[in-house]
C-alpha cells in the first residue's frame, strides 16, 4: 500500500501497480497511521517530499515517527516545490533564488535526517537518486525494518532545480564527499589513493587522512546508536563527508499499532465487547416520574 500527500513525490502511487492513496497535502502519515491501526498486517509505504513532509506536513511526520508506526517513509528531497513550478522549500539552501525568493531565500534549510532522528525514528537512512544500486539496497533494508523507517532520497528536479545535489553528481565532488556507511566498519570516504576517515575528538568529528592515523582510532559506524547517528546527520560538504546509507537502525522496538491492538484486546477480554456498563446506573422511569411529581 502506497500512501502519499501532494507534490511531484506524491504522484508516486500512480506509478505503482498496487493499492494507493493519493491523499491531502502533508497528511499521508495520518492516513497511514489510521490504515495501519485498522489493518496492521498490511505493508504500508508513505511517499512524501521536502515540501509535503517537512513544511505542510511537518507536524504529521513528527508524530508518525515518534509513535514508531510500522511504515516505510520515503522522502524525495529535491529542495524545491516543483509541482507548483519552482518555489523555495524547507530544504532549499540559504540565499537560493527562486520564483518566490527573487532576492534569495532568507530561510535556513532543514536537515531531513536530523529531523527524523530528533523525532525518534527507529530507522533513518539517506540515499541518492543517481545511485540506483545503493537506493535499491537502502529501500530493501528500510522496508524490512519493523517500526517507522525514514529514508531521505536526494533527488534532482531537472526542470525547476537542476543539479539539486551536484555535490554528489559532479564526478570530482562525489569522489571527495560521498561516504557510504556500513555498520561495524570505520567511516571512510575520498579517492582510493587518498582515503579520509573521521575521528571523534570528544563529541566533535574531525576529518583525518586514513594513512596518518592507526585504524583503531577511526570512528566506527554503529547504526544502533542514536547519538552518533545525529552527529552523522549533521555532516555535510565541503568540511565533512556526506554520509549515505543507514544512519540508524534500532531493532526490536515496539510499534504503535502493537500497543494499541494489545490494549484493544485487553479491553475486550476484561470487559467484554460492546459498551461498558461498569460505571453506569439505570434510571427507572417510575421513580423519576415520582421525583418529578414532588
Amino acid at each position: 500500500m502506497f500512501i502519499s500527500g501532494i507534490g511531484c513525490s506524491s504522484r508516486f502511487p500512480y506509478y505503482m501497480n498496487t493499492y494507493g492513496f493519493h491523499t491531502i497535502h502533508g497528511r499521508a502519515p495520518a492516513l497511514a497511521t489510521g490504515l495501519k491501526l485498522a489493518r496492521p498486517e498490511l505493508k504500508v509505504f508513505v511517499v512524501t517530499g521536502d515540501g509535503d513532509g517537512l513544511s505542510i506536513g511537518g507536524n504529521h511526520l513528527l508524530h508518525v515517527l515518534r509513535r514508531n508506526v510500522d511504515v516505510t517513509i520515503l522522502l524525495f528531497n529535491n529542495r524545491i516545490y516543483g509541482l507548483t513550478k519552482g518555489q523555495y522549500s524547507p530544504t532549499s539552501e540559504l540565499g537560493k533564488v527562486t520564483k518566490s525568493t527573487p532576492m534569495g531565500s532568507a530561510d535556513r534549510p532543514l536537515s531531513p535526517c536530523s529531523f527524523a532522528l530528533a523525532a525518534g525514528a527507529t530507522y533513518v537512512a539517506r540515499t541518492v537518486d543517481r545511485n540506483i544500486a545503493h537506493m535499491e539496497e537502502t529501500l530493501r533494508s528500510a522496508s524490512a525494518h519493523k517500526g517507522a523507517a525514514f529514508v531521505e532520497i536526494l533527488q534532482n528536479c531537472n526542470v525547476y532545480n537542476d543539479l539539486a545535489w551536484n555535490v554528489l553528481y559532479d564526478k570530482e565532488s562525489k569522489i571527495l564527499h560521498e561516504c557510504r556507511l556500513e555498520h561495524g566498519k570505520p567511516i571512510m570516504f575520498g579517492p582510493p589513493d587518498d582515503r579520509r576517515g573521521l575521528v571523534l575528538e570528544g563529541v566533535k568529528p574531525k576529518v583525518v587522512k586514513v594513512k596518518d592515523v592507526p585504524e583503531s582510532t577511526l570512528w566506527v559506524h554503529d547504526s544502533s546508536d542514536r547519538a552518533t547517528a545525529m552527529l552523522l546527520a549533521q555532516l555535510w560538504a565541503p568540511d565533512y563527508p556526506i554520509p549515505l546509507g543507514t544512519l540508524l537502525s534500532l531493532e526490536g522496538e515496539t510499534t504503535y499499532e502493537e500497543i494499541l491492538v494489545q490494549q484493544e484486546q485487553k479491553a475486550i477480554s476484561d470487559r467484554g465487547p460492546g459498551i461498558s456498563r461498569s460505571s453506569s446506573w439505570q434510571a427507572r422511569p417510575g421513580r423519576s416520574a415520582e421525583q418529578a411529581g414532588r
Partner: protein, 348 residues
C-alpha cells in the same frame, strides 16, 4: 467522519460556550462544489445514535459525513439507557473480491457508492485520491466534461441520502399558526417552550431537524402546513437560509406564489416584540402563506424561547389578547428594549 463540537467563534471566540454558527461552514465551507452529508444530534444521549447514523450513511453511500454537535450538548448530560449492542441495526459492508469486470469508480445504482475494496485484495489493485478521476476507470482526468459529470455525481450521491431520512415527527398539531423549526442542541429549549405555549392553548408545533444535508424530503410539505415558521438558532440565521429557499421553490411549484420571506436580524438577546412586529407585517398577506422568520438568539439554550412565545399574538383574537401579551411582556427583562427592537425591525 468529522465531528464538529461547535463553540462561539470566530477563532478561539468563546472556547467554552456554545453556538450553532458552523452550519454554513459545514454545508459549504470547502473549495469547489463538494457537498457532504451533515447531521446533528439533538440531545446528549442522541449523540450516540447520531454517531451511529453517521457511520451507517458514510459506509452505505461512501461519502464524508459531518456531525454538528455543540458545546451545550457536549457539556450537557441526561439519563441515557445504554443500548444492547445486539439490538442496534446492522451496518452491512459488502467488500468486493470479484476481479471480473472490476473498475474502481463503478457505482451502485441506488446509492452511487463505489465498490468497497479492502486494500490488499488480490487482483483489485487501484489508486484513489483527491485528484479528479475519470468515472468508472478511476484514471486521472482533467477533462472538463468528466469533471462536470463527477461534480454532479458527487452532489447526487449526497442528495440520495435523503431516502434514508425517516418521516419528520411533529411535536404538536400537524398544521396551524406557528411551526418552530430547530436543529442541534436547542431541542430541549424549543420543546419546553412549545409545550408551554401549547398548554396555553396556542396553535404551535415544532420539528427538530437531525439531517441538515440533505434536508428531510417531507420538510417542504410540513413547512407549508403552518402560517408562520420560526427558526430559532444560536447564530445570525443560518438554517433559515437553507429552509426558506426550499419552501419557496415548493410553493412556487404548487401555488405559484413567492411566499417566503425572512429577515436578517442580529440580536444578542431575544425580543418579545418579535411576534407583534411580524404579525403587523402579516396583515398584508391575505393568503395563508408561510413566512420564515430568522432569529439570532445568542442566549443560553433553555432561556430564550419561552418569553418569545408568550408574546405570541393570536390572529383570531382581539385587543384583549394583545393586552394580555403585553402584560406578560412587561414582566420580562426584555421589555425595555421593545421599541428599539421594533425600530430595528422596521429598518430590515
Amino acid at each position: 467522519m468529522i465531528f464538529d463540537i461547535q463553540r462561539g467563534g470566530p477563532s478561539t471566540g468563546l472556547p467554552t460556550k456554545t453556538e450553532q454558527a458552523d452550519l454554513m461552514q459545514a454545508l459549504y465551507g470547502r473549495n469547489s462544489e463538494s457537498p457532504i452529508v451533515v447531521i446533528a444530534p439533538c440531545t446528549p444521549g442522541d449523540c450516540f445514535y447520531i454517531a451511529y447514523e453517521a457511520i451507517r450513511i458514510a459506509i452505505k453511500y461512501m461519502v464524508p459525513v459531518m456531525v454538528l454537535s455543540d458545546g451545550y450538548l457536549a457539556n450537557g448530560s441526561e439519563p441515557w439507557l445504554i443500548p444492547d449492542v445486539k439490538t442496534l441495526p446492522d451496518i452491512p459492508v459488502a467488500f468486493r473480491t470479484e476481479t471480473e469486470g472490476f473498475a474502481p469508480y463503478l457505482r451502485d445504482a441506488a446509492t452511487l457508492a463505489r465498490p468497497w475494496v479492502r486494500p490488499g485484495t488480490p487482483g483489485l489493485e487501484h489508486r484513489i485520491g483527491g485528484i479528479e478521476k475519470e468515472d468508472v476507470t478511476g484514471n486521472i482526468s482533467y477533462d472538463a466534461e468528466n469533471h462536470d459529470h463527477m461534480v454532479r455525481t458527487r452532489a447526487e450521491k449526497v442528495r440520495r441520502v435523503a431516502q434514508e431520512i425517516p418521516p419528520t415527527s411533529i411535536n404538536g398539531p400537524d398544521s396551524g399558526e406557528v411551526l418552530v423549526v430547530g436543529w442541534g442542541g436547542t431541542y430541549g429549549a424549543i420543546t419546553a417552550a412549545v409545550e408551554e405555549a401549547q398548554m396555553e392553548g396556542k396553535a404551535v408545533a415544532s420539528i427538530h431537524i437531525r439531517h441538515l444535508n440533505p434536508l428531510p424530503p417531507d420538510l417542504g410539505q410540513i413547512l407549508r402546513q403552518y402560517r408562520r415558521v420560526l427558526v430559532p438558532e444560536i447564530n445570525s440565521g443560518q438554517l433559515v437560509r437553507c429552509c426558506a429557499p426550499s419552501i419557496s421553490s415548493t410553493r412556487w411549484d404548487s401555488t405559484g406564489s413567492a411566499a417566503c420571506r425572512w429577515r436578517a436580524r442580529k440580536s444578542s438577546r431575544p425580543s418579545i416584540n418579535f411576534w407583534r412586529q411580524s404579525s403587523e407585517h402579516g396583515h398584508g398577506y391575505a393568503r395563508r402563506d408561510a413566512e420564515v422568520h430568522e432569529e439570532g438568539l445568542r442566549v443560553r439554550p433553555g432561556r430564550s424561547l419561552v418569553p418569545r412565545l408568550r408574546g405570541l399574538r393570536h390572529p383570531e383574537r382581539g385587543a384583549e389578547d394583545d393586552a394580555r401579551a403585553s402584560a406578560s411582556r412587561r414582566k420580562t427583562s426584555c421589555s425595555s428594549r421593545g421599541s428599539a427592537a421594533r425600530a430595528g425591525f422596521r429598518t430590515t
